[in-house]
Symmetry: C2
Subunit: 181 residues, 2 copies
């Protein structure tokens, strides 16, 4: 970040008055350009006890399986973002039942939030972002081909809770992984 | 947002290829400047059954009472952000017990997340951001002088759960209010 988005002047890295962190500050117009973590919202889409997964048709992790999820957008709620991503990536219309997992990944300044959601009907299809969309029995989750560690953690928690017959809210942190987040 | 933060060139509002939303796109260097919702993290700080509130020494809502909370920063987890804000606004060291409320406010592109937290000791003080910091019995919450509707909703949920003797995870949306968020 080298230029002021308000006036185009080159910014300086400085601690603004009353602050305690270095920010991109514009010496021309005094604009402070804050950079904050982003929310990724997604779902665990269920249909008759099976979980819908999407095979990624884009990088990162092209070809690996994921739960539908993506950056939350302005002007929407967390659950609206999760359902929009589900529709965009899998072509399916779902309904959120409960927030299920919230995973902070401070290394990349992200928070991943997944909802348990129910598909209204057995209707989904490949999309620009997903080369394949399919329902998996819980015993057939392709663990070795999952795209992101937040997806693995979320599915592990889901299966544990499923065995208990009660779904909670799970918080976790990912610091370092062998696979992408 | 009128200039590219990467190269300083004036941006254009356009829908990038493969996207479906208008973004600030740089015609010079092709940088896309995404703008996404921000997370506000805070706590319900408890000490011997009382709740710690801070009287705001800054705008907006100068002079009103709030739970300690603020923008989550890069390189931290949601609970680290909540505890940092608690320390900055009230001078108190707390420990998160559970995520308690998550409130989307799409009108201002924010998500407010509050944790139930326990103060380690009866040690807090006014700060730059808080002219007064005090413990309140649940029956003495200054409802008419609360700063933000997300704080009011969170405290209402907390008191309901307290009566039940069991604390859940609460999700809500604020669309329009008479008071600031």
């Amino acid at each position: 970040m080298r230029y002021c988005p308000k006036c185009g002047h080159q910014v300086e890295m400085a601690i603004p008055q009353g602050d305690n962190r270095t920010r991109a500050v514009c010496p021309n117009c005094a604009h402070i350009d804050y950079d904050n973590p982003r929310l990724i919202t997604g779902t665990i889409p269920l249909y008759q006890g099976k979980i819908l997964l999407c095979r990624r048709n884009i990088e990162p992790q092209f070809g690996f399986w994921t739960l539908p999820a993506g950056f939350m957008e302005n002007q929407e709620t967390t659950s609206e973002g999760a359902l929009r991503e589900t529709l965009e990536e899998s072509g399916s219309v779902a309904k959120c039942q409960q927030a299920f997992s919230m995973i902070s990944i401070p290394r990349i300044n992200q928070v991943h939030l997944f909802y348990i959601a129910e598909l209204e009907k057995d209707d989904f299809h490949p999309t620009e972002e997903s080369s394949e969309v399919a329902l998996f029995d819980l015993k057939d989750i392709p663990w070795e081909e999952l795209a992101f560690s937040s997806v693995t953690k979320t599915l592990e928690c889901f299966i544990e809770d499923h065995k208990k017959g009660q779904y909670g809210f799970h918080e976790d942190v990912i610091l370092f992984n062998s696979v992408p987040d």
